[in-house]
């Protein structure tokens, strides 16, 4: 059985970077596929990879991670400044971050417009495919 856990940004916004990483990693270690509203900071993504490596053992093989982020290409300057300012104040709530345990998610394939999760509940089984399409602005 596949469990998708939705994590609204409000659940992580008050946490420290370490707290955010621990929360997300614990969910993934619990064999849940996390759908996080928004995204982590770049430095937090790197810290998440480091924390994941520290926890790898015979049962936990790591994570698969992907971020869908719709960058509006034709946004004017003032809109861009406003978005940047809002992100600094409120955190980056745009986009969707997907984090899943490597033993459940075989691969995440992403092109700019869609994302595909290839899952396998146990090794050597035929991969299932779950598609998530990004909505355009």
């Amino acid at each position: 059985m596949l469990t998708l856990q939705l994590v609204p940004y409000s659940e992580i916004e008050a946490l420290s970077s370490v707290g955010r990483i621990r929360k997300l990693l614990n969910l993934a270690k619990d064999n849940k596929i996390v759908l996080l509203q928004g995204r982590l900071r770049k430095e937090e993504e790197a810290e998440l990879i480091k924390a994941t490596m520290e926890e790898i053992n015979d049962d936990f093989k790591g994570i698969e991670l992907s971020v869908i982020y719709s960058e509006a290409k034709n946004e004017d300057f003032f809109k861009k400044v406003r978005t940047g300012f809002m992100n600094v104040l409120l955190g980056d709530r745009q986009g969707l971050t997907i984090i899943g345990p490597a033993n459940v998610i075989k691969k995440i394939k992403k092109d700019p417009d869609k994302i595909q999760l290839f899952t396998s509940e146990s090794k050597d089984k035929i991969a299932k495919k779950v598609g998530v399409k990004k909505s355009r602005k």
Partner: protein, 210 residues
């Protein structure tokens, strides 16, 4: 605000020391992109000796390797750096993959343990770098989160980046896809193994690090 101040100070300090001593030039990327093959190419071209061991099995480089005082020249330009070859960064390491690749179970488990430590070290060393060459396999999908996270972290630290699309000698390779994925960076297509287009790589290196 503190983050911005920290970044600014890091940049100032980096620029100060860059002029005084050898810059640290890091090779980063996912496993099996050809970082060590490129390091060997550079060292063979300019020092006459190889730097590390390569293997078709992923995570062959599991420790940071440093070759000090590499001097490269082009016309009257000269660039001196310490070359830092880093373990491939990945989000998953499964010892069973190494078993499938032909390693005995015990050796595979040891390799997996060392590889996890290598990834941690590679990320820790990001802060030490003055310039980074991101080595990507041009036959593979560039839109992976590992690639995006590596490049995003370099950008956040204000570290100059050159992207190398390696393995252009292979039929399935495409430089265009990497250029489309990272349009803000210069992408140089090379074959580190055969030495194709390496001169262009050195020219680009002068432009980024010189």
């Amino acid at each position: 605000m503190i983050d911005y101040l920290k970044k600014f100070m890091n940049k100032v300090i980096r620029n100060l020391f860059k002029r005084k001593s050898h810059i640290k030039l890091g090779l980063y990327g996912p496993p099996n992109g050809g970082k060590t093959t490129l390091a060997n190419r550079v060292c063979k071209d300019w020092l006459g000796e190889e730097m590390g061991v390569t293997s078709p099995i992923a995570h062959e480089t599991r420790e940071i390797q440093i070759k000090e005082q590499v001097n490269i020249k082009s016309g009257n330009k000269e660039l001196s750096f310490n070359l830092v070859d880093t373990p491939g960064i990945s989000t998953r390491i499964d010892y069973e993959d190494f078993v499938k690749a032909g390693l005995p179970a015990l050796q595979a488990k040891k390799r997996a343990r060392e590889a996890t430590k290598g990834v941690i070290d590679a990320i820790k060393w990001l802060d030490e770098m003055d310039v980074v060459v991101v080595v990507l396999d041009a036959t593979k999908d560039p839109y992976t989160q590992v690639n995006i996270t590596i490049i995003g972290n370099l950008q956040a630290r204000d570290i100059p980046v050159l992207i190398v699309a390696n393995k252009i000698d292979l039929k399935r390779s495409t430089i265009k896809k990497i250029q489309n994925a990272f349009p803000q960076y210069e992408v140089i297509g090379i074959s580190a193994k055969l030495g194709s287009n390496v001169d262009k790589f050195y020219e680009a290196l002068f432009a980024v690090a010189g």
